[in-house]
Amino acid sequence: MKNKMNRATNFVAGLLLGFGLAFSPSASMAQDISGQLQADPLEGLTVKQREMVVAFQERVKDYTKMREAIEARMPKLAKESTPEQIQAHKTELEKRVREARAGAKRGQLFTPDIAGYIRRAIKNEYRGAALKELRASVLEADTKGVPVRVNYVYPESKELVEMSPKLLLKLPQLPKQVRYRFVGRNLLLVDRENDLIVDYMLNALP
C-alpha cells in the first residue's frame, strides 16, 4: 500500500516537473533578460517617476563621491591582502565615513517620494505566490539584532538576505559601492566595503 502511494506520489511529482519544464519561462525569460540588459532603465516611466529616480540616483552618487574621496586618501587595499589589512582598511573607512556623515538622518537618500515609488514597484512586481516566496526568502534570514539606523554598521556576524535578481533589475540602479539589503520588511542602503547603513526605508516589503 505504502509502495503504491509512493509510486503515485512519484508519478504526480514527475508529471508536475515535466509540466513545469515544458512550460518553463526560460525561453521567454532569455529574451526578457537580454531586453532588460539592453534597455534604458528609465524606459516606461512617467516624467515624474523619471525625475524621482534620477534625483535618487544623484543623491546616491553624491554619497559615493564623498566616500570615494575619503578612500582615495587612505592606503589602497591590494587585491591580495591579509585579513589584518582588510580589517584595518574596513575599520578606518568606516570611522572616516561615519565622521563625515555625522548627523545624517533617515530619509536623506530614501526621500518619501522615492520610498513610495520603490514600495509600489515591489508591490506591482510581486503578487500572490511570487510575493509569498519573496517574503519567505527575505524573512527566513537571521537579521535579528541588525540596527536599522543610519550611520550604524551592519554587523558582519549577521546573515545577508539574498536579493532577488528580478527585483534588483526593477529597482533604481546603484553604483557598485552601495547595496540594497533587506532587514525584515525594511530596505537598507549599505556601503559594501565598510558595512555602514547609509539610509533605510521602512516597510518596503508588502
Binding site: 532569455a30 536579493m163 535578481p165
Partner: protein, 325 residues
C-alpha cells in the same frame, strides 16, 4: 595485468597517503580555544579512488559552506588531504559561506587557514565564491584568489570557471556574465555560486528567483555544469534542460535528513554526514566522486559533455550520466 598493477599502485598511494595525512593531521592540527586535539575520525577508513587520472586532465575539488572552524570541518579537511595523495588536484572551488559568525583576522585563521593548512602548504589554490554569510571584502583576501572581484572567471586547461555572487545578482553582474560567456570558446563552461538554482532541500529549496535570471543565460551559451552550496548536504540533481547541477554544501555544516524524500529533482543525495567532491575533466568527460567525512564514496560517475548549445527541450538535450558502480 596492467590494470591490476595500476590498481595496486593507487591502493598503495592511498594507504601511504592516508598514513602521511593522518600523521600530519596529528601534528598540524590547529590549537583550539579549549585546548583539545582535533579528532581524526577518518583514520581507519579505506579509501577508494574511482577517478581515471588521465594525462593532462583538469583535477579539482569542490567544497561548500565550510566556515565553521569545527572539528568536523577539520576531519573532512584531513580526508581531502589524504585523497590528494592519490588524486593530485591542484585547486579547490569554494561554494560560499566561507566565514560564519564573524570575519576578524582570527576567524580567517580558525575557519580557513588552520583547517586547510596541509593543502595550503602543498600550494593548493582556493577559488572562493561569496555566500549569504560572507562580506564583500573577502574578495581582497589573498588566499581566496578572487582578484578583488565578487564575480570572476579563470581557466584551467580546456575548462572555464565562472564564480558568481548569487547573493547579489544585479544588472552589472548579469551583464558581465552574458558578455563573458558570449566570447568564451572554452570546451567546458562551469559555473559555481552559493545559491542552488535547483535543490531538494527542505529548509531552503531551489532558488527560483535566481534561476529565472541565470538559467536562460546558461542555456544560451551552453554552460555544462553548475555547482552550488547553501544547502548543507550533497545532491546531484537530475540534468535540467541539459545542464548538470550539483550541490556540495556540507563542508563545514550538516543539515541531516534535509533532502526531501521522493523529490523529482534528485538523482542522488547524501545528507547524513559532511562531504566534498573530487572532479576530473578529461576531454569530453567529467568524472566525479563524492567523499564523506569518514572517507567513504557516497556517489560517483561520469558525465558526458553536452552539445555546444543544448536545446531547451529536456528530451532533446538529455545528457549521458553513467554512475560508477
Amino acid at each position: 595485468m596492467k590494470r591490476i598493477i595500476t590498481s595496486m599502485l593507487i591502493y598503495g598511494a592511498l594507504v601511504f597517503g592516508g598514513l602521511v595525512g593522518n600523521a600530519l593531521a596529528q601534528t598540524a592540527a590547529p590549537a583550539r580555544a579549549t585546548g583539545e586535539r582535533v579528532a581524526t575520525a577518518t583514520a581507519a577508513a579505506p579509501l577508494k579512488l574511482t577517478l581515471p587520472l588521465k594525462d593532462g586532465s583538469v583535477r579539482f575539488l569542490v567544497i561548500g559552506d565550510t566556515g565553521t572552524g569545527t572539528e568536523q570541518q577539520q576531519e573532512l579537511s584531513n580526508v581531502m588531504f589524504r585523497y590528494r595523495q592519490a588524486f593530485p588536484y591542484e585547486f579547490v572551488l569554494m561554494m560560499g559561506d566561507n566565514m560564519y559568525g564573524g570575519e576578524k583576522p582570527e576567524d580567517f585563521k580558525l575557519k580557513f587557514e588552520n583547517v586547510y593548512k596541509q593543502l595550503l602548504d602543498d600550494k593548493v589554490k582556493f577559488y572562493a565564491s561569496l555566500g549569504n554569510h560572507d562580506e564583500s571584502n573577502q574578495r581582497f583576501y589573498e588566499l581566496f584568489n578572487m582578484n578583488g572581484e565578487e564575480f570572476y572567471r579563470f581557466t584551467k586547461g580546456n575548462v572555464a570557471f565562472y564564480a558568481l555572487n548569487s547573493n547579489y545578482m544585479d544588472k552589472r553582474q548579469i551583464k558581465w556574465l552574458d558578455e563573458e560567456l558570449a566570447k568564451d570558446t572554452s570546451e567546458w563552461k562551469i559555473v559555481y555560486m552559493h545559491h542552488p538554482p535547483y535543490s531538494s532541500g527542505g529548509k531552503h529549496g531551489s532558488s527560483s528567483g535566481l534561476r529565472e535570471v541565470v538559467e536562460p543565460i546558461f542555456l544560451k551559451y551552453g554552460v555544462n555544469a553548475v555547482f552550488a552550496g547553501h544547502e548543507h548536504f550533497y545532491e546531484r540533481v537530475k540534468p535540467q534542460k541539459g545542464i548538470y547541477y550539483f550541490i556540495s554544501g556540507a563542508g563545514g555544516k550538516l543539515r541531516p535528513g534535509d533532502v526531501k524524500k521522493n523529490s523529482p529533482l534528485t538523482e542522488k543525495a547524501f545528507d547524513t554526514d559532511m562531504s566534498f567532491m573530487l572532479l576530473e575533466v578529461a576531454g569530453s568527460e567529467l568524472h566525479f566522486q563524492v567523499i564523506s567525512r569518514t572517507g567513504d564514496t557516497v556517489d560517483s560517475g561520469t558525465l558526458t559533455k553536452q552539445a555546444a548549445k543544448p536545446k531547451t527541450s529536456p528530451a532533446a538535450a538529455a545528457p549521458v550520466v553513467a554512475p560508477t558502480p
